[in-house]
C-alpha cells in the first residue's frame, strides 16, 4: 500500500508540478521509493520538471491496454528511488476520461508498491481533476498569494469536498437523501457542502453523523507558493481559518514556499531546482514541506474513506514485503 498525495490547486502556474517534482526528488533522496504520476492530462509537463525529455510511454498506454499493468508504464529517472508515470503521451481523449477509466486508474494506483505516490493534477475544477482527490484521504492544495489563485483554490476546495460527500453518499446508498436535499434547495449538493451536510443531518441524523465522521478523516493541506518579501506571511494560516469557518472544511496549513527567480532559471534549464540551487530559502522551505509529508506517513492512506481500514491492512502487508 502506498501513501497517495494528490496535489492540486485551481489555477495554472501556481507551482503544482514544481512542488510535486521537487517533493518527489527529496522523498526519494531520503530513501523512499517514490512514484510521480503526471495526471495533468492534456498539459502534462512533470517530466520536464525533473529533467526528463518527452516520454511516449505513459498513463495512456495503460488505458489503451497497450500494457497490462500500470506498473509497466513507470520509468526510472536519474534519481535513485524516483519513478515517473508520464502523462505526456496522453492524447486529448484522456483529458475527458470516463468515470470507469478513472476508477481503473485508482484501483491500479492503490495496488502499486511504492512508499509514496504523488499525483500532479491539472488546473481547474473539472471532474477529471477533483476525482483524483477521491483516491486518498489526503490532498495538497497549492495557491499563490494572488487573488486569482486564491479564488480558484476556494472553488477547488469546495468542489473536492462536495465530491467527497457525493462519493460517501454512494458508498452508504444515500442517493435518495441527496435527491431530497437537492429538491429542498436546488444546487445545494454541489455549491454548498456545509449546508448540504446540515440538511442530511436534519433529515437523517444517524446517516448525517456517519458522513460527517467520514469527512473528518480527510486530511487536506494547503501550501502557499511563491511568497514574496512584501507578502503577508500569515496569509496561508488566515486562508485555512476562513475555509474552516465559512466552508466548514478543515484544511491544515503546511507552510510558505519563498518566491525565487532562480526557479524560472531552473525550469528553463530543465534541471530540478533542489539540485541546482540547494542553498536558497526556497530550497529550505521545500525541505520543510517534505519533512512534513514524511511525518504524515505513519497515518496510512486508504483508497477512499470507505476502504480506509482495508487500506491500512494492505499497507501493513506491503511494508512486510519490502
Amino acid at each position: 500500500m502506498t501513501n497517495i498525495w494528490p496535489i492540486g490547486g485551481g489555477k495554472g502556474g501556481s507551482g503544482k508540478s514544481f512542488l510535486a517534482g521537487n517533493l518527489g526528488i527529496w522523498l526519494a533522496r531520503e530513501g523512499n521509493k517514490t512514484l510521480l504520476i503526471d495526471a495533468d492530462f492534456g498539459a502534462a509537463n512533470l517530466h520536464t520538471m525533473i529533467g526528463i525529455p518527452y516520454q511516449h510511454k505513459g498513463l495512456s498506454d495503460f488505458l489503451n491496454k497497450k500494457v497490462q499493468t500500470l506498473a509497466e508504464t513507470a520509468i526510472e529517472t536519474r534519481f535513485p528511488n524516483l519513478f515517473l508515470i508520464s502523462g505526456a503521451g496522453n492524447n486529448l481523449d484522456t483529458a475527458n476520461m470516463a468515470y470507469e477509466q478513472k476508477m481503473k486508474i485508482f484501483r491500479a494506483i492503490s495496488k502499486l508498491s511504492y512508499d509514496f505516490t504523488l499525483l500532479d493534477l491539472g488546473a481547474g475544477t473539472s471532474f477529471n481533476t477533483i476525482d483524483f482527490f477521491l483516491i486518498s484521504d489526503s490532498g495538497i492544495f497549492v495557491t499563490t498569494p494572488e487573488p486569482t489563485s486564491i479564488e480558484n483554490v476556494y472553488r477547488l476546495v469546495r468542489a473536492v469536498y462536495a465530491r467527497k460527500i457525493r462519493q460517501l453518499l454512494k458508498t452508504f446508498h444515500f442517493q435518495t437523501l441527496a435527491q431530497e436535499t437537492e429538491a429542498k434547495t436546488k444546487g445545494a449538493v454541489v455549491s454548498n457542502p456545509e449546508y448540504f451536510l446540515s440538511v442530511i443531518k436534519e433529515l437523517e441524523p444517524e446517516k448525517g453523523k456517519m458522513v460527517e465522521e467520514a469527512l473528518r478523516a480527510s486530511q487536506f493541506k494547503l501550501v502557499l507558493n511563491q511568497l514574496r518579501k512584501q507578502d503577508n506571511p500569515k496569509m496561508g494560516i488566515l486562508i485555512c481559518r476562513i475555509i474552516q469557518k465559512h466552508l466548514g472544511i478543515p484544511v491544515q496549513f503546511i507552510g510558505n514556499i519563498a518566491h525565487d527567480d532562480l526557479v524560472h532559471d531552473a525550469v528553463c534549464q530543465r534541471v530540478p531546482f533542489l539540485d541546482k540551487y540547494p542553498h536558497t530559502q526556497t530550497a529550505a522551505d521545500l525541505k520543510k514541506f517534505c519533512k512534513h509529508i514524511l511525518g504524515e506517513r505513519s497515518r496510512g492512506e486508504g483508497f477512499g474513506p470507505a476502504e480506509g481500514a482495508l487500506g491500512k491492512a494492505a499497507e501493513l502487508g506491503g511494508n512486510n514485503g519490502e
Binding site: 486564491i150 472553488r155 456545509e194 488566515l238
Partner: protein
C-alpha cells in the same frame, strides 16, 4: 460547522474564552483586515453585503469583549447556556485583576505576570515593553502596532487628541501641568490595556531625570 449567527463573540474573533485584552485587540485588528474590502484572503468568497454583515458581527464582538463589564456579563450568559465553563473566564484565571467595580477602568490593568504572557504574542510590543525607558515614539509604535487611533482613545477618554499627540511627540511643555501629563498618559495606556503604572513610570523617568 455552524452558521455565523450562532458563533460566540469569542469564536467570531478566533479567541479562547480566557483571552487577554491585548489578544482581543489583536484578534480584532486581524479580523478587521481579513474582512476589509480589498482583502485578498477572502477574495471571491463573499458578496459586499455578506462581508459587511460579518464585519458588523466582528465590531459587536469587539465592543462587548473589550469592555470589561460587558464582557463579564456576556461570559455569564455563555456560562448559563453551557457554552462556556465556569472558571474559564479571563478574570477568574488569575491573570487579570479581579473585577471589583465595573465602572473603574483601573481593573483593566495587567499584573506583571499577565503582561509577560500577553506581550509574548507580539514581538514588537514585547520588545518595546522590555525597554528600561519609554519615549513618546515608543508609545506611538505600541499604539500603531495594536491598531488603535488617537481619535479612538480621545473618544473614550474625553481627552482631546492633541494632548495625546503632545505626549507621543514628547512635547511635555505643551500640556497644562505635569499632573495633567501623568493622568492623560495613564488614560492612554489604560486604553491600550497595558499596565499603566509600569508604563507611566518608565515614560516619566526621562522628565524627572
Amino acid at each position: 460547522m455552524r452558521p455565523l449567527a450562532e458563533l460566540t463573540h469569542y469564536e467570531i474573533l478566533d479567541l479562547s474564552t480566557g483571552a487577554t485584552p491585548l489578544e482581543i485587540r489583536q484578534a480584532y485588528k486581524t479580523a478587521s483586515e481579513v474582512y476589509s474590502e480589498d482583502s485578498m484572503v477572502i477574495y471571491s468568497l463573499f458578496s459586499d453585503e455578506e462581508r459587511k454583515e460579518i464585519l458588523a458581527r466582528i465590531d459587536k464582538a469587539f465592543a462587548t469583549l473589550s469592555n470589561e463589564r460587558a464582557r463579564s456579563e456576556y461570559d455569564q450568559i455563555l456560562i448559563r447556556q453551557g457554552t462556556m465553563k465556569e472558571g474559564s473566564q479571563y478574570w477568574s484565571a488569575g491573570i487579570g485583576v479581579a473585577l471589583v467595580d465595573g465602572s473603574s477602568s483601573t481593573d483593566l490593568a495587567f499584573q506583571s505576570e499577565g503582561e509577560k504572557s500577553q506581550a509574548g504574542e507580539n514581538l514588537v510590543v514585547k520588545g518595546i515593553l522590555s525597554q528600561e525607558v519609554l519615549t513618546g515614539m515608543d508609545l506611538k509604535r505600541l499604539r500603531t502596532e495594536l491598531g488603535v487611533s488617537l481619535e479612538q482613545i480621545a473618544e473614550r477618554t474625553k481627552i482631546r487628541p492633541r494632548m495625546f499627540r503632545c505626549i507621543e511627540e514628547d512635547q511635555f511643555n505643551e500640556l497644562p501641568s505635569r499632573l495633567h501629563l501623568k493622568s492623560f498618559l495613564k488614560a492612554y495606556v489604560q486604553y491600550l490595556h497595558l499596565n499603566p503604572e509600569s508604563v507611566v513610570d518608565r515614560y516619566m523617568k526621562r522628565i524627572q531625570g
